[in-house]
């Protein structure tokens, strides 16, 4: 058990104009934690995830990675990044996988994966290519390394995006509804890759609607409602019949036949 958590967010508040999306959310993650953020649309879970790497800037609250506090200043009424150098360095240790994959369309799969290591981490090209090919092998895309994103299926694009995120050798990986934009047949291949990463000890924070994944892979579940943490606990605690009523209502409401089958 480490003394200080790898990632710590304290009392995050975020408003868009007059609309308050996050009303004081906190989170702590230790090495190897796989935390699932669940909640209805609009509960603020994606916004909260994006506050971790400052793609959204909280109006109030603190973000700490490895005991280092991210500088957020206020300018003319809204929050701005305090130190671009610091946030660039921190972001290179926190990889994000997006719902819409966000691969660079003008680059091949391989070029997407080596872009970060070569240009941000300044590692040598040959070494980066070697590692990238190993990662593409790991996510099952070795034969598509020279394809462009437009030529890939959604599941393939997302796996390429995961390889790109892994190439940065992150300390924590952030997943923003990674399978929400995928057909049901393609969801499985992405979840398999994510499960493998979790089993290898990667620290992951996952915003998802995949109850099955949350239940069987994560070691902590946080249920958000209306911009606040409603309840949290281990999957056993949350999904049991004695678990929190609001969470059970949420799971029950979002369960259709397919969802129920997956959750088992």
């Amino acid at each position: 058990m480490q003394a200080s958590p790898r990632l710590k967010l304290v009392d995050i508040h975020k408003s868009f104009g007059t609309f308050e999306v996050l009303k004081g959310v906190s989170l702590e993650a230790n090495d190897g934690d796989v935390i699932s953020l669940l909640g209805a649309s609009g509960s603020g879970k994606s916004t909260f995830l994006r506050c971790i790497n400052l793609l959204e800037l909280p109006n109030r609250g603190e973000v700490w990675l490895d005991g280092e506090k991210l500088e957020i200043h206020e300018r003319r009424g809204h929050a701005v990044i305090g130190s671009q150098k610091q946030i660039d360095r921190v972001r290179s240790q926190l990889s994000m996988v997006f719902q819409t994959f966000n691969l660079w369309s003008h680059m091949t799969v391989l070029q997407n994966v080596i872009e970060g290591p070569i240009h941000v981490m300044k590692r040598p090209r040959a070494e980066s290519i070697e590692e990238a090919e190993a990662l593409l092998e790991k996510v099952g895309l070795a034969d598509r390394r020279n394809a462009y994103p437009a030529h890939l299926s959604g599941g393939q694009q997302q796996r390429a995006a995961i390889a790109r995120a892994l190439a940065m050798k992150p300390k924590v990986m952030l997943f923003d509804e990674p399978t929400s934009a995928l057909d049901p047949e393609l969801v499985g291949e992405v979840l398999r890759v994510m499960r493998k990463l979790a089993e290898e000890g990667m620290t992951m924070i996952v915003v998802t609607h995949e109850m099955g994944f949350a239940r069987s892979v994560s070691n902590r579940i946080i249920y958000m409602k209306d911009g606040q943490v409603d309840c949290s606990g281990t999957p056993q605690e949350m999904f049991s019949d004695n678990g929190p009523a609001s969470f059970n209502r949420f799971v029950g409401a979002s369960d259709d036949e397919i969802g129920a089958a997956r959750a088992r």
Binding site: N53, L55, Q84, I87, D88, R89, V90, R91, S92, L94, S95, M96, F98, T100, N102, L103, W104, S105, H106, M107, E115, G116, H119, V120, A147, Y148, P149, A150, H151, R164, A165, M168
Partner: protein, 229 residues
């Protein structure tokens, strides 16, 4: 059809074609560089910079190029401070004034083309780059510039074609490019149709080459759109 006359006219016009080409290349290059600066100012947070850029773009898109050429060649010479100044040896040259006017004009149009290209970049691509720690010039060089370039190629090829045609206006201020020479020959021989037809062929040829080059560039940069090989 007087082949001899056509041939002789064509030869004489072709001797002026290098000047047309030089006008085009110089103004496109200078105008393009200026457009980068203007676009940067246009999207800056500083209200002084963006207002200046907006005004510049409005003035040079909103007034006829012909009047801009007159103002710079004939108009500036009206002022003692210009005639006595250090730049006068250059500002009295019709060629220099034509290049200045053409550059300032194309910079206004190109700045808006660039701004359109920047807006066309999906926010997703930029967020992905930021999320791995890219920012500033690196982000611009690796992600923003390549995607903007691909987005503006169709519009910019139109702008280049317009530039080739705009060089014809330099003839008004005594630059002996193709149209100027054509006007002289036609006023000497009164064979307006043949002379200007030859001139038109030269401009069409120039534009054909430019359009083909831009199409080739577009093709090379669009491998990611093509159907799978």
């Amino acid at each position: 059809m007087d082949i001899h006359f056509l041939a002789a006219t064509m030869m004489e016009l072709l001797s002026a074609a290098p000047l047309t080409l030089l006008l085009f290349l110089l103004s496109s290059a200078c105008g393009g560089l200026l457009a980068l600066v203007i676009t940067w100012m246009r999207i800056a947070e500083n209200p002084l910079l963006s207002s200046f850029a907006k005004t510049y773009i409005f003035v040079f898109r909103g007034s006829p190029l012909l009047i801009q050429i007159f103002l710079i060649y004939y108009g500036l010479a009206q002022f003692d401070i210009v005639r006595g100044g250090p730049l006068w040896p250059y500002l009295r040259e019709p060629f220099v004034c034509a290049v200045i006017a053409l550059s300032l004009c194309t910079a206004g149009y190109t700045a808006e083309i660039l701004r359109g290209g920047l807006r066309a970049i999906p926010v997703r691509d930029i967020e992905a780059a930021r999320s791995i720690g890219m920012s500033g010039f690196l982000l611009f060089r690796r992600i923003i510039a390549p995607l903007t370039l691909r987005a503006i190629l169709p519009s910019y090829s139109t702008e280049l074609v317009l530039m080739v045609k705009s060089t014809a206006l330099a003839s008004i201020v005594t630059v002996w490019e193709v149209t100027g020479v054509a006007q002289r020959i036609s006023s000497e021989t009164y064979r307006v149709f043949e002379v200007f037809s030859c001139a038109a062929v030269i401009y069409l040829t120039l534009n054909f080459v430019i359009i083909q080059m831009m199409a080739l560039l577009e093709f090379k940069l669009s491998k990611h759109h093509c159907p799978m090989a």
